[in-house]
């Protein structure tokens, strides 16, 4: 892994029909890195990916790959692979021919073609399925074919657009592990687009959180998960209770305020608590239990308070708080992620 940027997006402005969906985006990705673009739908992550692939001409900015400006290079000459959310397999072609498609475009000699297709099919565990049509495969198998088809041409960069979102939960976990293994084996640079924070955390070397066409935060998974840079990122990675800090008070979006439980640094703008960080049964605040859900190891509580709904979580072994009862709770700043101004 070299330190120089392998893929470099500089001042990228992207959009459709003259309306910008992504504005002046800068992003540098190192060779061999697996970067996840994470964000809700409409945040510009898929648009960014399509621009990297060459399927969308940027309105402004520059894309460099391996030191070469590819901004105006046609998509079919970029040698960038893409695994589509829908897999986009060719329905009339067998597994073998789907995987061979890219090699045939390069006029690969017959014996080399057969060897490489067999290798790619074996790599995704589908040996023996070469003559099947896509419709004769399960969703997970189609996924693997799409992956084999994209990597068999040895792309310089592999883009993956929500590749696991059409799979059931168990298969999703399995494919996640497999993707990680493949990435390590092939040493291929990957850009992975997803709206699933768990998937991004598990897979990526680095996460880029996007919102409304802009980068909200980027960093290693641990940094995103533990020290969100904005209230948006905090909410997105599972801090269910996010409040603004002003004049020694916690303020909710509805204008309600409560005094802070303990003093905080002057430059703290927001405090964010995960459900398990909320103290339950003790503390300076009060609320009414609106609902509980049993999660196995723990119980999740929804508490109606002066600050609006609070999500708390307590070990299942502790005595339960019944719905409808009033309960004391605390929001200790020491247990919160602090977002500074």
């Amino acid at each position: 892994m070299s330190d120089a940027a392998f893929l470099d997006l500089a001042g990228m402005t992207l959009g459709y029909d003259g309306k910008a969906a992504v504005e002046s985006l800068d992003l540098a990705i190192k060779e061999g890195e697996l970067v996840a673009l994470l964000g809700p739908s409409g945040c510009g992550k898929t648009t960014t990916m399509r621009a990297i692939a060459g399927l969308l001409q940027p309105m402004g900015g520059r894309i460099t790959l391996g030191g070469r400006d590819i901004t105006s290079l046609p998509a079919n000459r970029r040698n960038i692979g893409l695994v589509f959310q829908s897999y986009a397999l060719f329905p009339h072609l067998s597994v073998f021919e789907n995987v061979a498609f890219g090699l045939r475009r390069q006029r690969t000699p017959k014996d080399e073609l057969e060897r490489r297709v067999a290798g790619a099919v074996a790599m995704v565990g589908l040996t023996g399925f070469e003559r099947r049509l896509p419709k004769e495969l399960s969703g997970g198998q189609q996924q693997r074919v799409a992956l084999a088809r994209a990597v068999v041409v040895r792309p310089r960069l592999l883009l993956l657009d929500e590749p696991l979102s059409n799979l059931d939960a168990r298969l999703r976990l399995e494919m996640r592990t497999e993707l990680r293994r493949l990435q390590r084996e092939l040493g291929i640079t990957m850009v992975y687009v997803t709206h699933d924070q768990e998937e991004a955390l598990a897979l990526a070397d680095r996460i880029v959180v996007m919102r409304d066409g802009k980068i909200e935060q980027m960093g290693p998974p641990e940094a995103i998960y533990e020290t969100p840079a904005t209230d948006f990122v905090a909410r997105f990675v599972g801090f269910e209770n996010v409040f603004e800090v002003r004049d020694g008070q916690l303020r909710a979006g509805n204008g309600a305020a409560l005094p802070l439980q303990a003093p905080v640094d002057g430059d703290t703008a927001w405090l964010a608590w995960r459900p398990h960080a909320v103290e339950l049964g003790q503390g300076p605040y009060e609320g009414r239990v609106r609902g509980t859900s049993y999660l196995g190891q723990s119980v999740e509580y929804l508490i109606e308070s002066a600050l609006g709904p609070i999500k708390a979580e307590a070990p299942a072994a502790l005595p339960r708080h019944e719905a409808g009862r009033t309960v004391a709770f605390g929001l200790p700043p020491a247990a919160a992620a602090a977002i500074t101004r």
Partner: protein, 258 residues
């Protein structure tokens, strides 16, 4: 009771649909000299007689050439149109779709008259080119509609996948789109062929002395000769059309596209 009524209604509908056809076959199998039902005696001689009539043979050849040629031309024009309408949300795309289906809605006799008055006469087209132009114009809507139906079932991202694997846009179309709409194109071809082959109202305005399509030739023939050969020929043509449509349904599932 009600199910018996339903059965009766169904039988009446079938009788209404198939009855005339059965009468035509019966009339064609007559041994007599004039077209009549019930037939006078039974014979297949009028079925053989059909092949002896020179004007039938010539117009049959013209009809076949016209049907094949005009259908192919309509597909060459219609497939790109269907593709553009399906893939690019063009301003006025919906209006274009409506416009393209208008020859199906406007009475064919009006289409024929309009073509004669405003295309064939001003351009001084010969009979055969005029027929080609007219039939192609009539068939383009069928081509667009049927091919559109099969394009609607095809994801557009397979073309993008092909492009990212090194194909250019043209290769992407021929390697990934065309093979997947092949059945729709065949269905459009069959529908177009049958429509052109059976076309009367438009051809009526455009045929002339010595050059005529088979259905028009049959009309003229009946004006002067009232023998059972016309019934025999009608029966043969109806059987041919039915065979084509049945084969198409069997192998392509024609009814999915129309």
């Amino acid at each position: 009771m009600s199910s018996r009524m339903g059965g009766l209604m169904l039988a009446l509908v079938f009788l209404f649909l198939i009855g005339p056809f059965l009468i035509i076959i019966a009339a064609g199998m007559s041994a007599g000299e004039t077209l009549a039902f019930p037939p006078q005696g039974l014979s297949l001689r009028w079925f053989w007689a059909v092949f002896e009539v020179e004007s039938f043979r010539a117009s049959f050849v013209l009809s076949i050439v016209l049907a094949v040629g005009a259908t192919l031309l309509a597909l060459v024009l219609g497939v790109p149109v269907a593709y553009a309408l399906a893939r690019y949300p063009l301003p006025g795309g919906e209006a274009m779709r409506t416009l393209l289906t208008s020859p199906v809605i406007v009475p064919a006799i009006i289409v024929g008259l309009a073509l004669l008055r405003y295309v064939v006469i001003p351009l001084d087209l010969g009979i055969v080119p005029a027929l080609f132009v007219a039939h192609t114009a009539l068939l383009v809507p069928y081509a667009v509609r049927v091919v559109s139906a099969s394009l609607a079932n095809l994801r557009s991202d397979i073309e993008e996948a092909a492009v990212l694997l090194g194909a250019n846009r043209v290769q992407a179309f021929f390697l990934t789109v065309l093979p997947n709409i092949r059945n729709g194109i065949l269905a459009a071809f069959i529908l177009g062929f049958v429509t052109s082959f059976n076309q009367v109202p438009v051809s009526l305005f455009l045929t002339g002395p010595g050059v005529s399509t088979l259905p028009i030739q049959m009309l003229w023939y009946m004006e002067f000769t009232y023998d059972p050969s016309i019934a025999a020929l009608s029966a043969l043509l109806a059987l041919m059309s039915m065979a084509i449509v049945l084969l198409a349904e069997r192998f392509l599932g024609l009814s999915r596209y129309v």
